[in-house]
Amino acid sequence: MRVETLLEVQDVTKRFGGFQALGAVNLHVRQGERFGLIGPNGSGKTTLINCISGTLKTDAGRIVFAGQEITGLPAHRRTRLGIARSFQIPKPFVSMTVLQNLMIPVEYSGRGHGDGVVDEAMGILEMMGLAAKAHAPSAALTQIEMRKLELARAMAARPRLLVSDEAMAGLSSAEVDDILAILFELNQRGITIIMIEHIMRAVMRFSERIAVLDAGEKIAEGAPDEILANPRVEKAYLGE
């Protein structure tokens, strides 16, 4: 696997009124990498993801994806380029069935609106283990099924980069392993994955490299055991 940079975040800053959510954050993620992003609540992880996916506009800094500057692009264009994300709080399209939910990203991520759409959507559902619920209303799914649907939707966009935003929060141990297995499988298929999680054992097992955010700044970056041993990280989580 070529070791080239897929995503570069340069000096990204984001303010909400007087509050600075991100202050000149720098990151780079390599092609095919499993990258973990952690930090205490409110440290800016989701804000950073929103900036990367295009949901939010940055106040300063650049974002470069696969060598292309994407800083000004709207979210749906970034999706077409290959960035996908799942949402922390699942946001299914409640008026649609599970299958229909999946058809949206399949259709709209540049693959057109022809006949293959349903087949492709079903294929993804099978991979996620949701095929049996294809025609169920998406609002009636269980927690873990909803998380899988979130991931499925992100997958349907055939991304090169997938950001999984706390996909495991509130799940049982077995369910966490379930999701983890899916993420490993996706990475095997060549998808670069950024995982945001609070469940430490998952992040430590999954990630090749981890970055730590605190109060909008990156305070540490490195391999999992380096991070575990880093006193600054400990302080950020446990306080003084």
């Binding site: 996916s53 295009g54 949901t55 709207p74 979210a75 749906h76 999706t79 077409r80 996908a84 994300r85 949402f87 946001k91 299914p92 399209f93 409640v94 008026s95 649609m96 229909q100 058809m103 949206i104 990203p105 259709e107 709209y108 991520s109 540049g110 609106h113 939707r153 349907a156 966009a157």
Partner: protein, 306 residues
């Protein structure tokens, strides 16, 4: 097609003229309700300014009649085009903002346009304008019957358009926007573009509904065109009928429209409006999916239940 033929046949039956007027109004509401619903029910953006688009269609027709005595076909096309442009413009200005600001803008639009037309003497100003309607339509029957057939045709066009959109990829995209715009955007749905399509199509259809209005009434003044009727009905009919599918606005328009036509001879128009408003509030609170939703729920209970 069959609907149109049936309509023409009915027209030639030479029933009491009054029924043509009443049916015309109901058909007009089918168009307005369907048009509203494309943006409201399908996409989730509430337009409070239906009168603005309707009036634009009507006044464009008036201008054409006064200046060049244009035929109805030209009036229709022009009215639709102008209203469509307005829809696009207001969309372009406000759809990047939160949905509520779009809605407020449509409200303001209606007020501003009304002021404009009140001050525009060429089209009659506050006093209104009287127009001569051709006596006979191209099919040989009276012009009123002809207008009825035209409106019938427009209703068919509107419903067909809504039906097509609903089943197409555009409709799916609009539904995604309605359910969760942020998620839709992240999944590759070009939300702004689709919303603009919806606003423009909605505007075009409303303009189409308004264009025959001058010939229908032969007297047009701002108060009648900007009547509260249009604002509330174009909203209430889809919400009461059911806003997620094309048949909801039709049901709502037929039920409410006919009821109002009947009621108008017995109760005052203000009381009539009050009732519509109350029914609307009741439905929004208690039966948000409308009549269609209630029927679906009933069917599900019968079909799969105990």
């Amino acid at each position: 097609m069959t609907v149109l033929v049936a309509g023409v046949v009915a027209a030639r039956l030479g029933v009491n003229q009054y029924y043509y007027f009443a049916a015309y109004v109901v058909l007009q509401y089918i168009v307005l309700a369907t048009a509203w619903n494309i943006l409201g029910g399908y996409t989730g953006y509430v337009n409070f300014g239906t009168p603005a688009f309707f009036a634009l269609g009507a006044y464009t027709a008036i201008v054409l009649i006064k200046s060049v005595k244009a035929p109805l076909a030209a009036q229709l096309v022009a009215g639709a085009a102008v209203a469509g442009v307005l829809g696009f413009a207001i969309g372009y200005l406000t759809l990047r903002l939160r949905g509520v600001f779009f809605s407020i803008a449509t409200l303001a639009l209606a007020v501003v346009l009304q002021t404009m037309f009140i001050n525009w003497d060429y089209a009659g100003g506050a006093r209104g304008i009287t127009l001569a309607r051709p006596a006979v339509g191209p099919l040989g029957a009276s012009y009123v019957e002809f207008l009825f057939v035209v409106m019938l045709g427009l209703a068919v066009v509107a419903v067909a358009t809504a039906r097509w959109i609903e089943g197409s990829w555009i409709g799916r995209g609009l539904a995604a926007i309605r359910d969760n715009e942020e998620a839709a955007e992240c999944m590759g749905v070009p939300t702004l573009r689709l919303k603009l399509v919806a606003t423009t199509v909605s505007g075009v259809l409303m303009g189409l509904a308004g264009a025959p209005f001058p010939y229908y009434l032969t007297f047009v003044e701002p108060t009648s065109v900007f009547d509260l009727n249009y604002a509330v009905n174009s909203l209430a009919m889809p919400m009461i009928g059911g806003s997620t599918t094309w048949i909801g606005p039709v049901i709502g328009a037929v039920l409410l429209g006919t009821a109002q036509q009947v009621a108008m001879v017995t109760i005052s128009s203000a009381l009539n409006l009050l009732l519509v408003g109350l029914i609307l509030v009741a439905f929004v609170i208690l039966a948000p999916e409308g009549i269609v939703g209630l029927v679906q729920r009933l069917a599900r209970r019968r079909g799969g239940g105990a």
